[in-house]
């Protein structure tokens, strides 16, 4: 008797909590919406500190070592590259104001003559040469040598047989010529990668130990590195002498907020100027008139896929791979779990890149076909095919993969989900462990269809290079190599589409979805531009009306 009373008391208390929560959320929905929207008509104002956040600490601010997306973004605020990207990911001038390509292997860049480093030194062609050679220098041991190793003479330089890279020629202080060994069409857009951001020799060599440079970064970029307290915040100040005109903001304050729920709470408390809305909160923000006018969305270039290990049974059999693809209702899962924060992906080339075909469709959800294919091999829901499904642990991943598992178990697989923390999982992805299937995503290092095909499907990239599924098809290899050397743009794109046809036909992977980012801003934040490439936003458009 008494026990029940006490239990119901506890129940009631927690119920009150829940009612409180719901009550408060509906109350917010009633508040009157402000009519103003973000308009371009107003005159942009200078000043103000932009309050933002990062989810984790970055690893380095030295361009030669910046490999993570977050590091790349920070690098692009502090440094500049020869080229940049516009909001859609098209190449545009940056430190190079123009360029010409007299033949397939030669690029001649005209550099801006008014760019300065944060220390006051002028930027010249020498800095470009120094930066590129530094990345290739075996002493430096940058993991990004592949960005420049197609330059003429790069191999010799890396092996220590040449003092300079033959393919980097300084024509004058503000003119530089780059020559490639062989034609390599995506080269130009690769010059926008973090590793190609220009550093000042004087600053790098100021320190006996070059790792110290990463803690005191100096570039030509729109923002100057001020303070970084690990686990707490990164502060950037505006660079008044920025060659393309100073940014509107006086500075940016990035707080380190690891827990997404805390990020949401901080934004709702009014302490942040922007928020990347988690999938769980999108509907709530969208239905709330206070926030609705200030929501922005954009498709990203992050293509999420399930990799099928093609080098060993059972996924070396194309029928098993196809059965896998037929067996998952991607539309339904994406709709239920991600809502509008993702769109279904049908192949390696994402929308927004040349080569993408809107009409191109991969495997529809067809459990009967899936069952039939497995039945050919003697498997059925009663006698299922056991597979190990490895993924990096996260709430978001589990939310997506549990439905995948449940659906596959219905058609005749017996899926064992293995949830590993990131480091251990990455070693498995790289070295190939006991797993048959894994879940990961691929984002553009540079906006070119090549970036979604060559690393993922060329047999030279097995393991860490990007081809984690160890897919190998001589025909695809040959086509990829041919595309690299094809200078005619349209012809090259056509080749990529042919490759896409083959790898989808062969069900080399299961393309799952492309993420779509939703951001919400404070009303004072004006002229927000969302960029599709992770390091394209240099925070030059946005200004604060306060």
């Amino acid at each position: 008797m008494y026990k029940r009373k006490k239990m119901s008391l506890i129940l009631a208390l927690l119920m009150i909590f829940s009612i409180f929560i719901t009550a408060c959320s509906s109350e917010e929905a009633v508040t009157t919406p402000p009519d103003e929207t973000v308009g371009n008509a107003e005159a942009s104002k200078y000043g103000g500190i932009y309050e933002s956040y990062i989810e984790a600490d970055f690893n380095t601010l030295d361009p030669a070592f910046a490999t993570a997306a977050l590091d790349g973004f920070m690098v692009s605020l502090i440094y500049d590259a020869l080229i940049g990207f516009d909001a859609e990911g098209k190449v545009m001038p940056a430190l190079a104001k123009s360029w010409e390509t007299p033949d397939e292997v030669t690029y001649i860049f005209d550099l801006v003559d008014n760019a300065k480093f944060h220390n006051g030194n002028s930027f010249t062609a020498n800095d470009v040469k120094y930066t590129f050679e530094r990345v290739l220098d075996p002493e430096v041991a940058s993991p990004r040598t592949w960005v420049f190793d197609k330059l003429k003479g790069a191999e010799a330089f890396m092996e220590g047989n040449a003092a300079e890279v033959e393919g980097i020629e300084i024509l004058s202080d503000y003119k530089i010529k780059l020559t490639l060994e062989d034609p390599f069409a995506p080269f130009l857009s690769m010059l926008g990668m973090p590793a190609a951001h220009i550093v000042d020799k004087n600053e790098v060599e100021k320190y006996a130990d070059q790792t110290q440079f990463a803690l005191h970064p100096v570039g030509t970029g729109p923002y100057i590195f001020d303070v970084y307290n690990q686990g707490e915040r990164l502060t950037l100040n505006v660079f008044e002498d920025y060659f393309a005109g100073r940014a509107f903001l006086d500075g940016i304050n990035y707080r380190v907020i690891p827990d997404p729920s805390t990020q949401v709470a901080e934004f709702e408390a009014g302490n942040l100027d922007e928020l990347l809305i988690p999938a769980a909160d999108l509907e709530r923000f969208r239905n709330n008139p206070t926030y609705r006018p200030y929501l922005r969305d954009m498709n990203t270039f992050w293509n999420f896929f399930i990799g099928l290990m093609a080098d060993k049974p059972p996924f070396d059999d194309v029928r098993v791979r196809q059965a896998f693809n037929y067996g998952v209702d991607r539309e339904a899962i994406v709709r239920a779990v991600r809502g509008d924060t993702a769109i279904v992906s049908h192949g390696p080339i994402p929308p927004g890149l040349d080569g993408f075909r809107p009409e191109f469709k991969s495997y529809p959800y067809d459990p009967e076909k899936s069952k039939a294919l497995l039945a050919e091999l003697g498997y059925s829901p009663e006698n299922p095919l056991p597979i190990e499904f490895l993924h990096i642990e996260s709430t978001a991943n589990v939310a997506l993969l549990e439905p995948v598992q449940a659906m596959l178990n219905q058609v005749g697989f017996d899926v064992n989900l293995i949830s590993m923390e990131s480091q251990a999982a990455r070693v498995q992805f790289r070295e190939g462990g006991s797993h048959n299937v894994y879940y990961l995503s691929w984002g553009a290092d540079y906006p070119d269809a090549e970036n979604y095909l060559f690393p993922l499907f060329h047999s030279s990239n097995w393991g860490g290079g990007g081809n984690g599924t160890r897919y190998s098809n001589p025909e695809v290899d040959a086509l990829l190599e041919k595309a690299h050397k094809t200078a005619n743009y349209n012809e090259r794109i056509k080749l990529y589409q042919d490759i896409e046809d083959i790898v989808v036909e062969e069900a080399a992977r299961m393309w799952f979805f492309l993420s779509r980012n939703w951001r919400v801003y404070k009303p004072e934040v004006k002229d927000v531009v969302l960029y599709r490439i992770f390091n394209a936003n240099k925070m030059l458009d946005v200004w604060l009306d306060r």
Partner: protein, 296 residues
């Protein structure tokens, strides 16, 4: 500090005639403790009969078209993100949570009792070595050490048992050692020894049964903290593997829906709170009951 403990034990043994009978009588009269016990019995019942009590299968019965539904007649606790029945998942979750609690305590007990008994009974060099190791273990921050162990062993439910159980052994070891040190000098132990009983026999038949009271108390309390720790490990992605329904992982997933679908976090939350509450009440009562200095 240690010396006081020993004195306390001595007193305890002197005064107790038939401690278990007295203790149980006391326990039965302690209302709070009995409520705790009822809760534990209730949870055990649920855990054992989860498959009969659950209206749906916790993993296989999914329906993406009915995701995030609030409590209704069909789904008393609502549905989760893939339309699974939250009630069924909470019921099945009791199995995992109670197993985590019990299994991790079992690890603590087996290591702690073995080492504690050896140290206390044989004294001398084994004692010194064991106690130095225990000191080293104490110096590790428990939770962080459990994280490191979990990562080292690799993911899975057994890892959770071991990691949570292993970090607590030094406390248990010290507790047992203190008891054994005091008991080994008692008359009844001397008597057994003079009758030619082996060391093993003396430890298992004479000494250990007489120092069970604090062990039982500490184990009862430990179960609830292990259940809480499982929730914490889930948050870090080191809990049980998906799609195993555990309260910790359900809460961790549900907390992001604190606004939109509060039932996802409320119900597993109630389950954890109820369990921890039950074990704590019962543990408190046990302590009161088994402590012979308490007079009626």
């Amino acid at each position: 500090m240690e010396s006081t403990k020993e004195i306390m034990v001595e007193e305890k043994v002197k005064k107790s005639n038939n401690p278990w009978v007295i203790a149980m009588g006391r326990l039965r009269r302690d209302k709070s403790a009995m409520h705790g016990l009822y809760i534990i019995v209730f949870l055990t019942f649920i855990a054992v009969f989860a498959s009969f009590l659950s209206p749906y299968h916790p993993i296989n019965d999914f329906n993406l078209d009915r995701a995030f539904e609030g409590p209704s007649y069909q789904h008393w606790f609502g549905t989760d993100w893939m339309g699974r029945d939250v009630l069924s998942r909470v019921l099945y979750g009791s199995r995992i949570s109670l197993t985590v609690g019990l299994a991790s305590r079992l690890v603590t007990l087996s290591i702690g009792i073995t080492l504690g008994a050896i140290a206390g009974y044989f004294r001398g060099i084994p004692d010194m070595i064991i106690m130095r190791i225990a000191e080293i273990m104490d110096a590790f921050p428990n939770f962080l050490f459990a994280i490191a162990i979990s990562i080292a062993i690799g993911p899975g439910l057994y890892t959770v048992f071991f990691a949570l159980g292993f970090v607590g052994w030094s406390g248990m070891c010290r507790l047992i050692r203190g008891q054994v040190l005091a008991l080994r000098e008692m008359e009844f132990v001397e008597a057994a020894r003079s009758l030619g009983a082996s060391d093993t026999r003396i430890i298992f038949k004479e000494i250990l049964p007489n120092c069970m009271a604090p062990v039982i108390i500490s184990t009862t309390m430990g179960i609830s903290s292990a259940i809480m720790s499982e929730a914490a490990l889930s948050f870090l992605g080191l809990g049980a593997q998906p799609p195993t329904p555990t309260w910790g992982s359900m809460m961790n997933f549900g907390r992001q829906y604190i606004y939109n679908a509060p039932h996802l976090v409320i119900f597993p939350g109630i389950a954890i709170a109820l369990t921890v509450y039950g074990f704590n009440l019962f543990g408190d009562g046990l302590r009161d009951a088994l402590d012979p200095r308490m007079k009626d």
